[in-house]
Symmetry: C2
Subunit: 343 residues, 2 copies
């Protein structure tokens, strides 16, 4: 089976992926920041025990203990969006359960006892929510989640209080970026209770014109309403992006940038990650504009994930110098885009 | 028949072309700077009459009157190195005779009454000199050249006095440039009575790592000795360049630059002249290193000449905006390098 990041889904010309995350805490324990290593281990063991029940067998969860993993393995998990960058920085008792298709991960003792997330290719908020909701219900039956009738789920950070849900979509917005629309959209989103971020979440810079949009409000709004809002607004942004792309397709400078990006990716022997992200953004744009043929969004999604520094090292099973990584990244592109052509 | 600049010759991995130029003046007239338009016309007519003799028939000279030509036609002559940039700036009585293969040109009323030059692809100083010498002898029989037993040929500028000969070779020196050797070579050449210049002669910047080396001394040295000196030193520089190329071929950054230059030339939809000169320099280097296959020096020479701004407009038979030129230049490269590949 392919991983979610090796596939493409709905509106894949603009949407890379959809993510639903629930923050949950067990009422028997204080929040993780108040726990010592021993108690954290207890929390992890409680959850592990539950997940070993037959009813979770279909997820095929594997259990990874961050403390016992090397740098390459932990950081490549971040690159696959399976754990947060903060999670692997902790030096004790971080445990994560990951499903066989890499579409579900359950971080234990991150900010909250449980951070479960479901990811899916393309725009798929409802379906992804249903998968997350089903998992949440199953866990809820076996673990006493801290819940208050008035407030909802209790979380360490107040920004998650209530539904504890963060729903997000990863969008490729090169045309809106090129036309200087991102800041305006970003400030409008805030007024609508949504927020726009970079590729790896809060505080990170957007790379390759990829932006993450997610709900900000978790209190006083149901999960389904929050998801409907996010979906409606995402559809608006998708349409805006598509319209600006139509405009840009008449621009010879843009066509030139797309075509030469393909030329470089097919021939370069060294590619830094930053340059790669810029070039692959152009290829994705060119594919949607009909300027480029002979590749597909699932291939582009796949090589975008694989081109990341720690993913490269994971495949090589060893640390690589910056130059060696740039070489390997270039080789992957030369091979994977061999039959990609300008229309 | 192909023009000289559509062919490649000896040592074509380093040498683009060889040029011999003689400055001559007629003893019956003062130097051109002392002449009014009428007398300049007389000079031109005298020469025209001589060149219409049967003995010049094999050259197939065509006579061009600069004043009656448009901007595109005169400037494309400069781009083909058939006339000097100064020559077309004069507003009266500039006449040039050009042979059918574009290998010989005779400028009338440039700095001297006659500036005859012979060009040839590759390194070919002796052969080119012989062609120039034969033409010079034929003209000398019919026109009284200003000559002094002690000084030799009299020229307006003292730097040409004596042989009136400027022999030059156009060299592609990307490896010596990359290794920071150009300044050292340039200052050594001065001590040897030679000089190093940019692509269009005195005072111009080198573009695409192309340098022109020529004899500086015209007094107290025979033509043949001057040519032998230039040839010997050119051979040394060629060998140095080749050795540095061997070193550079181990450098992944250089290989990367060569490969991606091909990628860009094959795909870009806009190419400025400056970018083109940089990229084609890399292709030429890559061809000599065995990194690139499926093209040849004559093709590269040809497209280098044709990619120049006025040559593009000449082919289009109209003025072109900068963007249109960049588009046309890119199209020529896409087509001509279609089957060029990385080895």
């Amino acid at each position: 089976m392919n991983k979610w990041y090796e596939k493409s889904g709905e509106c894949s010309d603009v949407v890379l992926s959809t993510r639903i995350r629930f923050a949950r805490n067990m009422s028997d324990y204080p929040f993780p920041c108040k726990l010592n290593s021993n108690v954290k281990s207890q929390v992890a063991n409680d959850i592990k025990r539950v997940l070993s029940n037959k009813s979770f067998a279909n997820y095929n969860f594997r259990c990874l203990n961050i403390a016992s993993m090397n740098r390459i393995d932990t950081r490549s998990l971040v690159e696959c969006h399976l754990v947060s960058p903060e999670f692997i920085k902790k030096d004790d008792s971080g445990v994560v359960f990951i499903s066989s298709e890499d579409n579900i991960s359950i971080m234990v003792n991150e900010e909250d006892h449980i951070r479960m997330q479901v990811m899916k290719e393309g725009l798929s908020l409802e379906e992804t929510y249903n998968v997350a909701d089903e998992l949440d219900n199953k866990l809820d039956k076996n673990l006493k989640f801290a819940f208050n009738e008035n407030l909802g789920y209790l979380t360490q950070c107040l920004t998650n209080l209530g539904t504890g849900m963060r729903a997000s979509v990863m969008l490729h917005l090169p045309a809106l970026k090129e036309c200087g629309m991102i800041e305006k959209i970003s400030s409008n989103l805030i007024k609508l209770g949504l927020t726009m971020r970079g590729l790896y979440g809060e505080g990170t810079e957007p790379k390759g014109d990829i932006y993450q949009i997610s709900n900000q409000v978790t209190l006083g709004i149901s999960e389904k309403t929050a998801i409907k809002n996010l979906n409606d607004i995402t559809m608006q942004i998708i349409n805006q992006e598509r319209n600006y792309r139509k405009e840009l397709s008449k621009n010879i400078q843009v066509t030139d940038a797309i075509c030469r990006s393909l030329g470089i990716l097919k021939t370069a022997k060294l590619l830094s990650n930053d340059e790669f992200m810029k070039l692959i953004s152009n290829i994705r744009l060119g594919l949607s504009m009909g300027i480029i043929k002979g590749t597909s969004y699932d291939v582009l999604n796949n090589i975008t994930i694989k081109a990341q520094p720690y993913m490269l090292m994971k495949e090589e099973k060893s640390e690589l110098t910056s130059v060696k990584r740039d070489q390997k990244r270039a080789m992957i592109m030369n091979t994977n885009l061999q039959n990609t052509e300008i229309l």
